[in-house]
């Protein structure tokens, strides 16, 4: 990388010709040819090579149909009507062009892997530490002498601790293959404090036996250290995988709690087995879908809007259900069961008639997707974290309502002694379907995004 940084402007100028030639061949090349072209682009040592390769990796490299010239787009969003372009040589603004006049230079898996490791070399000098970390991590996937040399040169200049540690991991992984036993031992010791799968697998190669029973690692001390290191990494990974399982259980439990709270209240307070509870949840899910279709350009905001909407829609449906049907059937559990079952069929058919029987997808907003990489062995998806959080909020709000408000007092009174509550106030029973139904609807807003992503009328 040093030579690239040191390259004088004059040298960059002289490198223009082969760079332009390689670029010119890109539009008509097959995937295998593109791979060779990528290598040629890097060889030119041109100062824009890194930018071009990164753009290609991120699907931002385009050909202008009119003159077959290659341009870098500033945005990867190909749904826009026009793109603003950069000249690949000077990286200066080259105006805009409508999408219809541009063709994307495609990549495939193989090419992307080559691009990723190649582009990573250029990102080592990036001022942003997170970019450098990602670059080093990409380089660790395919370590060879050349990449190791780049890492070795970067190490003394690297200011960021995390990047430094990752570089050291990479160098240690390389050193495992060293011919000197002392170097190997030091590498094993360096890797023993890491918990990534790559370092574990690299260590495990030392313990492999050949067909004739001899170990891949001749030195006994190194072997012992490697075995101990693999063991400790395995233990650590097992612990983290246990933590992950607990979290999965918690998040799934949260989903069920959200679904069950409403059901529990209706049954506990009103003595009504609400067979239409699932359909009320379905109404909540479809409310989310409708909200999303109404605001397609503000997807990130659709969930905060959809939560109150779903509460209101499902709550209203619950109130209507109670006012028009259930209140005539109090004290007759079998009949409420049958009546609510009938309502559930009506609601299902209603949704089928309005939205058709096909699946409707609810898209997950960007802030809810992705994972939180806790460490190398543990990653937790954001949507599940939000679910657990949402459940806690709903649950504590519910507790607050039940314990601190007049409405809650009434609900508890009815639950504990229906006859007495009825004697005290004539409207005792009707208060609880609304909130519990609203709860059912609200819960479904969050549910489809992580788990189902689709809501279906045919249940």
């Amino acid at each position: 990388m040093a030579w690239l940084a040191a390259a004088s402007p004059a040298a960059a100028q002289s490198a223009d010709a082969p760079f332009v030639a390689a670029l010119g061949e890109l539009p008509d090349a097959g995937f295998a040819d593109k791979e060779a072209l990528v290598a040629r682009l890097v060889e030119t040592g041109h100062s824009s090579a890194g930018a071009v390769l990164t753009a290609m990796l991120e699907d931002r490299l385009y050909v202008r149909n009119s003159d077959r010239r290659v341009f870098i787009s500033t945005s990867a969003d190909d749904t826009q009507p026009s793109l603003s372009l950069l000249d690949p040589l000077t990286l200066k603004n080259a105006g805009t062009a409508p999408m219809a006049e541009l063709t994307k230079i495609g990549t495939n898996n193989r090419l992307r892997r080559v691009l990723r490791t190649t582009a990573a070399r250029f990102a080592l000098a990036n001022p942003d530490a997170s970019v450098r970390l990602a670059a080093v991590t990409d380089m660790l996937r395919s370590l060879d002498d050349a990449t190791a040399e780049l890492l070795r040169q970067r190490l003394p200049q690297e200011p960021d601790g995390a990047v430094k540690r990752q570089i050291e991991t990479g160098l240690a992984m390389m050193a495992i293959g060293d011919s000197n036993a002392a170097v190997r031992l030091a590498a094993v010791q360096a890797l023993s404090s890491r918990i990534s799968a790559e370092s574990r697998n690299r260590l495990a190669t030392l313990l492999e036996r050949g067909a004739d029973g001899t170990y891949a690692e001749p030195d006994e001390a190194v072997r012992k250290a490697a075995a101990a290191a693999v063991n400790s990494i395995d233990t650590a990974r097992a612990v983290y995988s246990g933590v992950e399982t607990v979290f999965f259980g918690l998040s799934l439990g949260s989903v069920l709690v959200l679904a069950a709270i409403g059901l529990a209240i209706t049954f506990g307070v009103m003595g009504v087995i609400n067979m239409a509870h699932g359909e009320l949840m379905m109404l909540g899910a479809y409310s989310t879908y409708v909200v999303q279709t109404l605001m397609p350009n503000h997807l990130d905001w659709s969930i905060p809007v959809a939560i109150p909407v779903a509460f209101v829609v499902a709550g209203l449906a619950g109130v209507i259900l109670e006012r028009t049907i259930i209140r005539f059937l109090y004290g007759r559990p079998l009949e409420t069961l049958l009546a609510t079952f009938g309502v559930s069929l009506v609601l299902q058919q209603l949704v089928r008639s309005v939205f058709s029987a096909n699946n409707r997808a609810v898209s997950t907003p960007s802030w809810m997707s992705g994972t939180w990489q806790v460490n190398e062995a543990l990653a937790i998806t954001y949507n599940r974290i939000y679910i657990v959080g949402f459940t806690l909020v709903v649950f504590s709000l519910l507790l607050l309502v039940l314990r601190r408000t007049r409405l809650g007092l009434r609900i508890r009174a009815v639950a504990q002694n229906r006859a007495m509550a009825r004697a005290a106030t004539r409207r005792g029973c009707s208060t609880s379907t609304g909130p519990s139904a609203a709860n059912a609807g609200g819960s479904r807003v969050v549910l489809p995004a992580p788990g189902g992503a689709t809501t279906t009328a045919a249940r």
Binding site: F31, D59, D78, G106, N108, N109, R112, R113, R116, A197, E198, N201, R202, A204, T205, S241, E244, T245, F248, S251, L252, V255, M275, F341, S344, L345, Q348, Q349, R352, A357, N358, N359, A361, S363, T364, S369, G370, T371, A379, T381, Y382, N383, R384, P450, G451, G452, A453, T454, T456, A457, A458
Partner: protein
């Protein structure tokens, strides 16, 4: 719950009965049954196939029909409910007296209607890739047998991507289970160790994928190149791919090759995180041939939506419909026996520039394509073969390697070459 389910079925049945009896009007027409789920978990895939056949019928009628008679579609909705498929098939054959049925997607639905077609001597064109191990006198398999899809896909991954560890992930029913059995036997015959194969099944419509995807991630972190062979069917694919994107499993690390996910299934998804994952089919919309361009144009005009996609089972129906038309013209009759006698040996061009030939074992010749998902939901072909003849009975399973199907000379779908015996129809 059971009660709810039953009465739901009853409702649908009632509704469908009234519609089909309304259609039953003129008798001079040739009736064509369409047996595809228009609701439930498989509707995502099957609705398009209904429209494809309607389009083909429409086109044939514009050409003046067949044998001087107009074609008439009888559409029923078996609602992704497997026993209901059998009831609907019976209704089509016995009540509507259709000349031919185009239908089914899942193998469980095909197995469900098989006894009905064999008893009533009907004719079913089945358009979807399937697990093989079957050749019925009354079914024409225009989709791929395992040697036309699963085996070449695994070969590609093994040779070109150097995959050493395999996750066989499927929906829990007959197609994934049989396919995975064949693949397991095949992989082991290629020297893959037991520990390097992980097989798992989930129910239809499975939506909570986080645990499974995390397990795949863990299985794939053992230092050997890992790939997932997905026989997941229906709408469970949507949350599966979403979770893959969510947990950042990129195709460069662990590629997923799907046998039941095509352009149609991807059209409802954000495909950006899925770029590079693979699908194995015998047709892709992105294959550039004049026939395909014309078909895509015709489809978009017919369905009146410019962003609708075409896919492999649609091509299979296109081939199947054309084969049936040719057979009827050759036999000068729509009688099942005569059409069946006329079918073997017939040829019709497919949409990718090759020729689909009807084989004596009721399968057809198809090319194999493997494609990588692009950001726009289409596929880039990374591997293709010339046309491969479909093999009904897999050579890699000990139970079926001696079995042969031949409806021309042997008149048998399940003929044992060593014992020289025909064990008759074999369906479970």
């Amino acid at each position: 719950m059971k009660l709810k389910y039953l009465s739901l079925t009853a409702c649908l049945l009632g509704a469908a009965l009234t519609t089909s009896s309304a259609i039953q009007a003129q008798s001079a027409t040739i009736k064509i049954g369409i047996l595809h789920s228009l609701s439930g978990t498989m509707a995502i895939s099957e609705t398009t196939l209904k429209d494809t056949i309607l389009m083909m019928i429409d086109e044939q009628n514009k050409k003046g029909g067949l044998l001087g008679r107009k074609l008439e579609a009888v559409v029923v909705d078996p609602a992704s409910d497997w026993p209901l498929f059998a009831e609907k098939a019976r209704e089509l054959l016995e009540k509507d007296k259709v000349a031919v049925v185009f239908g089914c997607w899942t193998s469980v639905s095909r197995k469900s209607v098989l006894p009905v077609f064999e008893k009533d001597n009907g004719l079913l064109f089945y358009p979807v890739q399937y697990e093989g191990e079957e050749s019925s006198k009354n079914v024409i398999y225009t989709g791929a047998a395992p040697n036309q899809q699963a085996i070449p896909a695994v070969d590609y991954l093994m040779k070109d991507v150097a995959v050493k560890r395999w996750v066989l992930e499927g929906t829990d029913y007959v197609y994934p289970r049989t396919t995975n059995k064949i693949l397991e036997a095949y992989l082991k015959s290629k020297g893959v160790a037991d520990a390097d194969i992980s097989i798992n099944y989930t129910p239809f419509g499975h939506s909570d994928w986080q645990t499974r995807v995390a397990a795949i991630k863990r299985f794939g972190s053992a230092g050997k190149k890992t790939a997932v062979v997905s026989t997941i069917n229906g709408d469970a694919n949507v949350p599966f791919y979403k979770e893959l994107g969510n947990q950042k499993i990129s195709a460069e690390d662990i590629p997923v090759v799907a046998f039941s996910v095509g352009e149609e299934e991807l059209s409802g998804l954000d495909t950006k995180p899925l770029v590079g994952h693979l699908a194995a089919w015998n047709y892709f919309q992105s294959v550039k041939t004049p026939a395909n361009d014309a078909f895509i144009k015709q489809w978009k005009t017919y369905i009146k939506k410019p962003n609708r996609t075409t896919n492999d089972p649609m091509e299979a129906h296109y081939i199947g419909f054309n084969l049936w038309v040719k057979a009827v013209e050759k036999a000068k009759s729509t009688e099942v026996e005569k059409v069946l006698a006329a079918l073997p040996g017939l040829e019709t061009p497919n949409l990718t520039g090759g020729i689909a030939k009807m084989l004596p074992n009721h399968h057809i010749t198809k090319p194999v394509y493997i494609g990588e998902v692009r950001a726009d939901g289409q596929f880039d072909v990374v591997f293709k073969t010339p046309v491969v003849p479909g093999d009904a009975w897999s050579d890699y399973l000990p139970v079926s390697k001696d079995t042969e199907a031949d409806w021309v000379t042997l008149k048998c779908g399940n003929y044992n070459k060593t014992t020289k015996k025909c064990s008759g129809q074999n369906y479970k």
